[in-house]
Symmetry: D2
Subunit: 303 residues, 4 copies
């Protein structure tokens, strides 16, 4: 089946799930999002595109932004980045501070909050203006200007006590070089980027094309770096259910509490699904099911 | 390149690594193994085989046995198994007991020791003679009689204080139904199974053939169960370096401190490499490199 | 007021509390004890005695036995004992295994279970028959034969999974020299000693008399050792409410889940109160109140 | 022996220890203090005073200030204070964040940093100007104006990453009502109070006089509150060696990394010793020995 018709079929199959679950409520700007929205877009390496539903509606990408900040940090630092950040799964969130203490302030991977904050600290050290650099990078990837949702960024800052605790804790181990408020300002802004499903799928084309943006041929990362991000997404990309995602979807995925999930079929296509109502694990409920159905029907699961 | 010649090329490429690292020394029976041995075998779904080095030398499969006990438990209990055992990565081993306490005695996954002990407990409850059942299952999978190395099993028992602590701890939460010594006796025996690379690769053919043993057409597990094991191997199969293995090899792997690593290329082939000298992460040093080279050259990495 | 009349007054004052709370129920032998019993006895250094209620009824002393095993270990090993066991409070029980892991199997103090098990291990190493030695010591202290309640000891063993986990865990760090089952057998027996309030108060006279049994002049410990035990009782003697006991009672205390509490007024008297129904902290509810009233009225609190 | 001659004797006995150990070095303002200084002062309830050495030299009281902030919080909130802060020993510092997580942001006691920060938060909520209120309270207790060492306070803030982590962490649990920077500003200032031994001993007279300042008859706390502080000092006042202090000194003590130790003999006298060089536990090395010798010779140990 061609992908457009497959997406339409998946859309129908998940229609009853859309709106089930709970929209993220820890900040007002996310809490008032309409949970019944759904969008799904994909972009193949060869340029073929398909989409259904609200695939052009911009939403808060939240933790999916960790793909971009990590990519930018790899551009700037290369393998040196890993002196500050590990690349292994982290166990349940309860243990995050225990693990940070045991490992002397070095986070387990760049997709847990501690790791993404450590990445943001690296960006602050290596960019003139880290927020500007992230925005430019994402805009370049998408091919059109992308901006921060400043209301969301301010909301994140106002409810960021645990992230602040994590950042100060890493700093107490000498693993954060810049002032915590500067680093968190970058982190909270990157979480507040607004993109549509179509834009996300397009922006992440480099992950499935050996690091090269398939839209314009620009090398974003080298092959090994692109592969590194895919493997990190599969093992660490979906909070405390990475193992479950590996099984039911079988693709590298990175989710966000805004309800988006970015998935990759290495060497073939990048996909983004979005539906704001979340299941118990903090991942989009309808979005997860849509990816599962798509991967099964398209036969693209890695297992 | 055909696989036989590819294995031979890989063998040459890793020749200088063979014997580097340290043979596991926590029990005498393993400590005196010659670290300079190396074997590598693969078996395709279509029956094609290839092997190099000491691929017919039996060695202690140790934690690779967790594949077999998990498969047997899934045969007997199906999805009920998961009420006692999780399916997510576990973070670093330091936290194993902290996590067990936080999660009330339910281990994170069946490939950490706590999880494999919980699986052994399920087998004791559902088999007349769990040790006999495991041995029969493995013998059936291989197609020839396999036996326990009783000296290794006795050695494991004599040095099993931490496993005993883990087992009693789970039992204190009501998550182990059988006496600890009975459960550990099963667990220590399964670790003491002796198979060659060729036998391991052959025995695990069902993992890459939708659960069906490609040698004789017998359904060992259903498709979903086989897929489950593959995804668990990728996310949790290699101690605290699952993320690194996902990146450098890009295949589901399950390693053992005896120096063996079982890998799968879903739908295509099962492989087993063995070299007893271990790297810092507790995985076979030459074996890991051999798998990396093979996967890259054969183009079978999932990323 | 003379002590006999003071005890009678206290008995009246707590009469409505007696039987409130819950009898320990984790083993059948304790669960069927009548919770409405109450006894209180004291013995001054000068030989003066007083008692009320069921002060001659033998009951299971449980964790109060840790005073005796610690004293015996100090007799046998002196300061060497502390190479295996710390002398500091331990925080909440939740953290016991975390702390044991962090401190490589050395328990924080001899009054938490891990510490008492480590003491028992030392006794096994230094006695021909540790159970016999403990029984003889207590019998000598009391001046009449004391025996184990074998039913209670068997019950403890049957429900001792967490203690077994703790013991194996210490052994995995090389901090337990003897087989776990041998050590736990000693530990479970010492918990199953049966003494009356009058016997306990009398047996612990050496703690308030510079280490010398005031009944017969025999030196049980030296002055510093006796002082050590008193200070440990004050800081670590009552599970997770040592701070609260220091405030409300202001005396060194060691409690047991059998409902007994042994208290000392250094240089003056030893006391034992008993009432089996426990408050939320696992200490005798009426017994705690009785000690508080007594210490306040007699003016013996250390604060 | 009268106290003045006893202090002189103690001073001679510890003379060789003075200067041994290491001056606290985590902030420059403390690192450059001359470690060879020593002062010791006491004040009896009846007004009798004695002192030796540099008893009139002001030094940074650091954690001894927790006595004052706790007293002020008890004045303002009474027992309500304890809804936010526990009263039990905390185990080793390694576990501080683990314990905070397990207990949902409620610190174990007011003498660990987390607890003192929670006290500071309460003061911010209940004072117009908490820093001013603390300074006034201490000035009133001493009977002369006391002030903050602003250089020390600034230094603390510049090196306060772990305290900031702790504060943000409590705030993430809703256990801190005020902005972290406001709360820490109070906390860092209270640590930067400068008093001499004579002033400290005098200021803490209320702790040994039923809550009433013996110098002027003003009730600072009620009897139970004063007793509460004494019992907290004995069980939690000296970092991770409270058990050891209870044994070797046998008095309620509160130490600071500036090298001061405040001790109380309930109902009789308050004492302050100071010598900046610290032993391995972070307590004044010569000061600890001086208190031990004094308590033994004066016969005032509670054990």
């Amino acid at each position: 089946m061609e992908y457009q018709r497959l997406l339409e079929q998946v859309h129908r199959q998940v229609s009853e799930l859309i709106g089930q679950g709970e929209v993220a409520s820890y900040i007002p700007a996310l809490a008032r999002v309409d949970g019944s929205q759904f969008g799904f877009a994909l972009r193949c390496v060869d340029g073929q595109e398909a989409s259904v539903g609200s695939a052009d509606t911009a939403f808060s990408i939240q933790s999916m932004s960790k793909i971009f900040s990590l990519s930018l940090a790899l551009q700037l630092l290369g393998e040196d980045l890993w002196s500050r950040i590990g690349r292994e799964p982290s166990g349940d969130p309860f243990n995050s501070l225990v693990q940070l203490e045991h490992e002397h302030g070095r986070p387990r991977n760049p997709f847990i909050n501690a790791g993404a904050i450590a990445v943001a600290d690296r960006l602050v050290s290596h960019c003139v203006d880290a927020k500007q650099s992230i925005r430019e990078m994402v805009s370049d990837l998408v091919g059109e200007p992308i901006d921060y949702d400043l209301e969301v960024a301010a909301s994140e800052a106002a409810h960021g006590a645990r992230n602040a605790a994590t950042a100060h804790f890493m700093r107490s181990f000498g693993k954060l070089d810049n002032p915590v408020d500067v680093v968190l300002d970058v982190y909270f802004h990157q979480c507040a980027l607004s993109l549509s499903c179509r834009q996300m799928a397009s922006a992440c084309g480099f992950l499935v094309n050996g690091g090269v943006n398939p839209r314009n041929g620009v090398e974003v990362l080298n092959k090994r770096q692109a592969r590194r991000i895919n493997s990190l997404m599969l093992t660490c990309g979906t909070y405390d259910v990475a193992g479950e995602f590996a099984f039911i979807i079988g693709l590298p995925c990175k989710s966000g509490v805004g309800g988006g999930i970015l998935a990759t079929v290495p060497h073939r296509m990048s996909l983004c699904v979005w539906s704001p109502a979340l299941g118990p694990s903090g991942n989009s409920l309808a979005g997860t099911k849509a990816l599962e159905l798509f991967a099964a029907e398209a036969g693209v699961s890695v297992f």
